[in-house]
Amino acid sequence: MTAWRTMFTYNKYAQITARALRVSLKEEERVLAEKRGLSALKYQKWENGVGGQQVLLKEEVEKKST
């Protein structure tokens, strides 16, 4: 039941379930709901005042799932 806790945080779990719900909606509602799930977030790790590479969050998600 709570096996997901070892793999990702609660926020990730909530986003996955939200996406599952959005995909299951009827056509019109789905189109509206998809907009609420859009995110083009990019992040960058910093060490000692130097920035690392900028990584796209969605790409990482896709790499992990393939």
Partner: protein
């Protein structure tokens, strides 16, 4: 006839020594004024259209903000009743701003507030909190959302930066953005006692101010006496901490977005007004210059004609 004309000019010249050079100068500056006028007119068109776009975006952003604020208010309720029993100097600062410019003082307002908070100055945005909560360690980790604030803070507090985010703020921020940010923060393994989110609070359509909201971490929740009363399981407390972080980030993102649109509207409005003034004064100057050049030519022709 040509000889007589040049003779007339030679006679005229000592009387109005400055006339010919002055006329030459006017012709050169007339061209310059014309170019400036054209460029200022183009700029005025651009700033006016940017103002229109920002006004329409502001209406939408304000509606999203009113809805998103409810998430933040629910959070605040929880954390208002959970004051820290021990001092929490190691705070993680999340600075909420955006990637685009031309919006007045939005980014510098938030960056300055962060610097004041870290320096523990009197007018720090954390000043209102209880004593345990408001003292800050100088090596507190900082995470920045938005390239503009990132650039400003790397100049001063580069060592404190841990993680930066961008591509937020192009459109209304979604909860997916906030959840992604919260997820990355928790996974980054940065240690903190509590999280302080520094953002711009929407005071009105023409003004905003930097504000800070504090979100407790998991340990702080577990140790607070007021929270222990509920006897939650550890897992549930961890989930609550993570979810309320995402909530608070979402509320700050939408409010910051609305402030940015209003600031951009005001900045472009001022720019258009200034451009209109400049166009007015340049136009006057141009007309005067043009009339002076015409008058000079007439004088030349008339003196020439009178000599015939």
């Amino acid at each position: 006839m040509l000889a007589r004309r040049s003779l007339a000019r030679a006679v005229a010249q000592p009387a109005a020594l400055g006339a010919a050079p002055a006329g030459a100068r006017n012709m050169a500056t007339l061209r310059e004024i014309e170019l400036r006028l054209k460029s200022v007119r183009n700029i005025e068109k651009i700033t006016k259209s940017m103002k229109m776009i920002a006004s329409t975006k502001l209406a939408k952003a304000q509606r999203a903000m009113l809805a998103g604020k409810e998430y933040g208010n629910a959070n605040k309720e929880v954390f208002a009743h959970v004051p820290s029993d021990k001092p929490t100097p190691n705070k993680l600062f999340i600075v909420v701003s955006s990637d685009k410019g031309l919006c007045g003082g939005i980014h510098s307002s938030v960056s300055k507030a962060t610097r004041r908070a870290i320096a523990n100055v009197d007018d720090s945005p954390l000043a209102g909190a209880s004593a345990n909560d408001s003292t800050v360690d100088a090596a507190s980790p900082i995470m920045v959302i938005g390239d503009k604030s990132k650039a400003q803070l790397t100049r001063v507090l580069a060592k404190n930066l841990q993680l930066t985010f961008n591509q937020i703020g192009r459109d209304i921020p979604t909860f997916a953005d906030a959840a992604g940010v919260a997820d990355l923060i928790v996974q980054s393994g940065v240690k903190y006692d509590s999280v302080v989110i520094v953002y711009n609070k929407f005071v009105s359509a023409i003004s905003y101010e930097a504000a800070a909201v504090e979100v407790k971490g998991e340990e702080a929740l577990k140790e607070s006496n007021s929270f222990k009363v509920y006897e939650n399981e550890d897992d549930a407390t961890k989930d609550l901490a993570e979810f309320s972080l995402a909530n608070a980030i979402y509320a700050a993102l939408v409010e910051g977005h609305a402030c940015e649109q209003s600031a951009r509207r005001n900045a472009m409005d001022n720019a258009s007004k200034n451009a209109k003034e400049m166009i007015g004064s340049l136009q006057m100057q141009y007309n005067r210059g043009r009339q002076a050049a015409i008058t000079n030519e007439l004088v030349d022709i008339i003196t020439g004609a009178s000599a015939l």
